[in-house]
């Protein structure tokens, strides 16, 4: 493999990894605050692409307007999912909550089939993103650069939100202990909804960029990325936002490199994430950046 080819792969890996990272953040935030795998997160990501698709194709509105609108709409969808599927089960056994999460995920997918149709749709990509840029000997779609930049920018904004603002402080308090947070005057329910709102909006950004990069959308498109991004969150250390981004990059670059270096294993690409997950869970269950928590007896 020449250096150019190698760089080409790395660029692709970073770009894919950035997308994984954006979705992984949502998993990690929800897990941090509710100790729950939000199985519906991948489907929220899918819904965002349809919102954007309908805005552009059916209502022929300008893309920048549509994207902002779709992102906000997706955030609201996240809140709705939280209120219906999770809120009433807050004190229920864990297994009930997980089942509800799986149910919510299936419900969204099937609703999408009914409402949007099961056939894949071609996602329109504004020319702005499509231009191919020549850097040295490698040629890259402009989008490939835009994606990581947007991801990193959003990561810094999110870190600022979590660490420096009042809402962020509330989120951190709730993630430590709901009861204590309540006693300190934090509105726990509002904070949880806010977390879903932010996490879903990030998934929407990821979804729209995903659809720009792989311009075909269908109701099940969120399933595999969803699972992989949860895995990215676990690899990075669940509950830790920076960890989720690191995990996303590891997974994205790892996948691209696996296919590039060992083409005979291409068929196993989707298994790569799961194998990585199992290896991590066995050797470092708390992930790369997660804190160790041992159950108090």
């Amino acid at each position: 493999m020449t250096l150019d080819v190698f760089l080409q792969h790395i660029t692709n890996g970073i770009s894919l990894g950035s997308l994984y990272a954006l979705i992984a953040i949502g998993y990690t935030m929800v897990y941090g605050i509710l100790r729950l795998i939000n199985f519906a997160h991948g489907d929220i990501f899918m819904m965002a692409t349809y919102f954007a698709f309908y805005g552009v194709v059916i209502f022929s509105l300008p893309w920048y307007f549509v994207f902002v609108f779709a992102i906000i709409l997706t955030g609201i969808l996240g809140i709705i999912v939280e209120k219906t599927a999770y809120k009433t089960l807050r004190d229920a056994p864990k297994i009930s909550i997980l089942i509800s999460a799986i149910g919510a995920s299936y419900l969204l997918e099937n609703l999408a089939v009914v409402i949007f149709g099961g056939r894949p749709k071609a996602f329109p990509t504004p020319d702005l993103f499509n231009k191919v840029v020549q850097v040295g000997n490698i040629s890259v779609q402009r989008l490939t650069f835009i994606i990581p930049v947007v991801t990193v920018a959003l990561l810094f904004m999110l870190l600022y939100l979590i660490n420096k603002t009042k809402s962020g402080m509330a989120m951190r308090a709730v993630s430590k202990d709901h009861e204590t947070a309540r006693l300190m005057g934090v509105d726990v329910d509002k904070t949880i909804s806010f977390t879903f709102f932010i996490g879903s909006m990030l998934a929407a950004v990821g979804g729209i960029m995903w659809a720009l990069k792989f311009p075909q959308i269908q109701p099940l498109m969120g399933v595999i990325p969803g699972l992989k991004c949860f895995i990215a969150a676990v690899i990075g250390g669940i509950g830790n936002v920076t960890g989720a981004v690191v995990g996303g990059f590891i997974l994205g670059i790892g996948e691209i490199m696996l296919v590039a270096l060992l083409p005979s294993l291409t068929g196993y690409r989707d298994a790569f994430a799961f194998i990585l997950l199992i290896v991590i869970l066995i050797f470092k269950p708390t992930g790369i950046m997660g804190e160790k928590i041992s159950e108090k007896v």
């Binding site: 864990k94 299936y106 089939v113 009914v114 196993y268 799961f274 269950p285």
Partner: protein, 349 residues
């Protein structure tokens, strides 16, 4: 008392046998097929309930175990001619390419293979808890599917297997369902079953009472996988064709729906629910555009599945214990119910 119950049980089994005898010759092919599916889903539901409901392990890899069972059974029972027809891309490996086994040993081999795979998966996965176990088993289920898609010379890859002899009939499916019920009830009510329930109730307390968590979780996981494998083998033989796509997470979801609706720690509930859900899936088929796939290869097809996913959510949100919770059918209860004759004032208390 015990003797009376045994007699009643035997009588019911005989009645069931007579019914099967009747159904076998009088029902049309479609009805027979649905009955077969009911019995197979009973087996699958019970096997998943042993792991998830009775032992409290949140395992989502059931479709993977079914795939192992279905492929093993299919590859052992298929005729040499059928094998040759299927494997035109790459020839089937030896010794599979030269053997044809009868149905029962093949089913058992399918179950044992699934149990063996469960043993391999359990070694790392059963050290995890809760969500992590769920996602790891789900991952293993997917890995099994990906492997089956890529091992062209064993599974025929994405093309799947066609022409699996249709040995599954009502006798086999109901016979094996009854054996499954008896074996699992006996297990659940034994000392081992109590250990499983202890693990479900409180792992730390169970371990402090001398129960080796890993050993007992493995036992439950492997026995559950065994029956899932057998169920998968029966299903493959009923449908006649299998391919890796059939064993996606959707299949696990269907079984999860059955055990949640029936009640996570009730054998009775699972049996009732397996019949209700299987029949409902068929009855509600009109909601979708006509698609002549078998029940299990159903693509995600709209309204019907919307109803089933909504049903799952409604059950978890509002009727967390499902139909039966942890209650079981017993002859004593039934007889008591009849004895409390509403026509006689006061009845027998």
């Amino acid at each position: 008392m015990k003797k009376r119950n045994l007699i009643l049980t035997i009588i019911s089994i005989i009645v069931l046998a007579i019914f099967i005898f009747y159904a076998d010759s009088n029902f049309d092919a479609y009805q027979v097929r649905i009955l077969n599916l009911c019995a197979i889903y009973t087996i699958l539901g019970l096997s998943m309930n042993l792991i998830n409901g009775f032992t409290g392990l949140f395992s989502l890899g059931h479709a993977g175990f079914m795939a192992v069972g279905a492929y093993t059974t299919a590859l052992l029972t298929m005729s040499l001619a059928a094998k040759e027809q299927n494997f035109f891309m790459q020839p089937l490996v030896a010794p599979l390419n030269s053997i044809v086994w009868p149905f029962l040993p093949s089913l058992l081999a399918g179950g044992l293979m699934a149990a063996f795979v469960a043993y391999l998966i359990g070694a790392p996965a059963l050290r995890l808890k809760g969500d992590y176990l769920a996602i790891a088993t789900l991952g293993f289920g997917e890995i099994i599917r990906v492997i089956f898609t890529n091992t062209q010379n064993i599974t025929n890859g994405a093309l799947g297997l066609k022409g699996i002899p249709s040995s599954t009939n009502l006798w086999w499916s109901f016979g094996i369902a009854i054996v499954t019920i008896i074996v699992l009830l006996s297990l659940i009510n034994s000392s081992y079953g109590r250990a499983f329930k202890a693990i479900r109730e409180d792992e730390i307390a169970a371990e402090s009472m001398g129960i080796n968590l890993f050993k007992h979780k493995s036992i439950s996981f492997m026995i559950g996988a065994f029956f899932a494998g057998v169920g998968g083998g029966l299903l493959g033989s009923l449908l006649g064709t299998i391919d890796p796509l059939m064993f996606r997470f959707l299949l696990t979801f269907n079984i999860l729906l059955i055990i949640v609706l029936g009640g996570m720690s009730s054998v009775t509930g699972t049996i009732i629910s397996a019949f209700v859900i299987t029949i409902a899936q068929e009855v509600l088929r009109f909601l979708d555009e006509p698609m002549n796939f078998g029940f299990a290869v159903v693509q995600i097809t709209g309204l019907r599945m919307v109803i089933f996913s909504a049903l799952l959510m409604v059950v978890v949100l509002f009727y967390r214990n499902g139909l039966m919770g942890s209650r079981e059918f017993s002859w004593d209860k039934l007889i008591k119910l009849f004895k409390r004759n509403p026509l006689v004032k006061g009845g027998t208390k």
